[in-house]
Symmetry: C2
Subunit: 280 residues, 2 copies
């Protein structure tokens, strides 16, 4: 409907092709030819030709109902994105352990511009329903992982977000720039973000930063639990330890040495991730 960044791609053929791909999105996984043409702002015959070529290559697939969907081949190419697969591959075992221990929702996300993109998500069917989805986007200021990524992003990014409008997903979302600035400072100080009822009123998320080779924050992870009856205190150590473990797996220098003291998470509440302690 709203021409966000669809046909705007310019009149070049490449732009049109990308416009066609943009027509697909969450909630629009399958489109008819004319649907694509409409969404991409292309004449039907043009769309027909381009879509035909894309389908022949495998970027799109045509279902029995005649509608087009994203094809396996395009998925394959997309899977090569280093910020998804490379990260995911290494982080998975740690996320696994945390998931297993908490039996809730575990998420992995990266930042793209002023939004957070969810790269991986382990969700227990009976866990609290969570809004995000793999490949989905959310505003930075309103989510746990988003606040972490924002807190450790370049100052210019922070200023831009603080300057822009801060949408409220729930009454509890931080929308005041000053409050957000304070929150971010807290996140930097604590190394975790705790967001209660910001995305939806029933869930609470605890997020921590993941660092890469050069020690910059490259991703964030979080655990989402029911808001009621959960004590963040029991979760924070586990999240912190897991994030640290992933950072080490990615080669972060600051995560090299064993966490001084005892941070391996209490075995009682949220069982110590098996890998967090062992290097090899």
């Amino acid at each position: 409907m709203s021409p966000q960044r669809d046909g705007q791609s310019g009149p070049s053929v490449t732009g049109r092709v990308l416009g066609i791909l943009s027509a697909f999105g969450p909630g629009a996984e399958a489109l008819s030819l004319s649907g694509i043409a409409r969404a991409a702002g292309l004449p039907l015959s043009t769309a027909h030709r381009l879509v035909g070529e894309l389908a022949a290559w495998g970027a799109l697939e045509r279902g029995e109902d005649g509608r087009y969907r994203i094809g396996l081949r395009l998925w394959e190419v997309g899977a090569l994105a280093p910020r998804s697969l490379g990260l995911r591959e290494r982080a998975m075992p740690y996320l696994e352990d945390l998931y297993e221990a908490t039996r809730q929702n575990v998420q992995l996300a990266v930042r793209d511009g002023h939004e957070v993109v969810y790269v991986e998500r382990l969700a227990h069917p009976e866990a609290v329903r969570v809004f995000s989805r793999v490949g989905g986007r959310m505003p930075l200021h309103a989510t746990g992982v988003g606040q972490v990524l924002l807190a450790f992003a370049h100052a210019s990014v922070q200023e831009e977000v603080l300057a822009g409008p801060l949408s409220a997903l729930t009454p509890r979302t931080v929308t005041d720039p000053h409050a957000l600035r304070r929150t971010l400072a807290g996140v930097r100080r604590e190394g975790v973000a705790v967001c209660d009822g910001m995305v939806d009123l029933l869930s609470l998320s605890v997020a921590a930063p993941i660092r890469g080779e050069d020690d910059r924050v490259v991703a964030a992870m979080s655990v989402v639990v029911p808001s009621a009856g959960s004590d963040p205190r029991t979760i924070v150590p586990a999240v912190r330890a897991t994030a640290r473990g992933i950072s080490r797996a990615l080669g972060s220098p600051s995560a090299r040495r064993r966490p001084s003291g005892v941070v391996t998470a209490p075995p009682g509440a949220a069982g110590g991730p098996a890998h967090a302690g062992r290097g090899t």
Copy 2:
């Protein structure tokens, strides 16, 4: 190097763009501009223009080293592929449980033409090294999931594969058409494929089919364990039960009713997947 399906895409602009995407692949996650031009068979200036447009949109990203990688935006679009995300999303919890129980490698794959494409993989860092990777391809006849997908594929597909050359990954790979035909019959009869040392000599895989709404086999899953010291007998029931659970989650009619008798997997060896038994 070898012009497999690169520049062949035809002289249309769309073909060139897709050729550029084809330049990336396993083992070629990052390419320089001239590398792309070479792989796609394009003049440098042409590649430069097209790549620039792709990068501006987010289909490609340029690293600090100047090389291009697949961009997050393309990954996002690819994640909409129903055969990856839709399937994955529903299968995950079951795979989780199986992974947790076995602490080995759990894989999920679909068929594309004469190859198997791995859609998901849970790998324990200390488990037996496995050759496949998410987004990777393998021949149908040589892998556990491949044999399952082949056994339940349309007869024409089977004939084509049986007619074509059957490459040998190890001395133990089935390369004789008659033997393969017999193997496939066995897979259909048993509902599982057991492949010992076919991909590499050290690992053994047990695979089972996953059925969709119309009861057709839409995917396959497998567990890969060390060849030495593993008894398939202890794994088969767990794999079967998990595959059945996923089938039910996908709406397969034949997986509706409780498995007659006791197939919920022995709790000892490979702990019963928590979801396999309970519906809601």
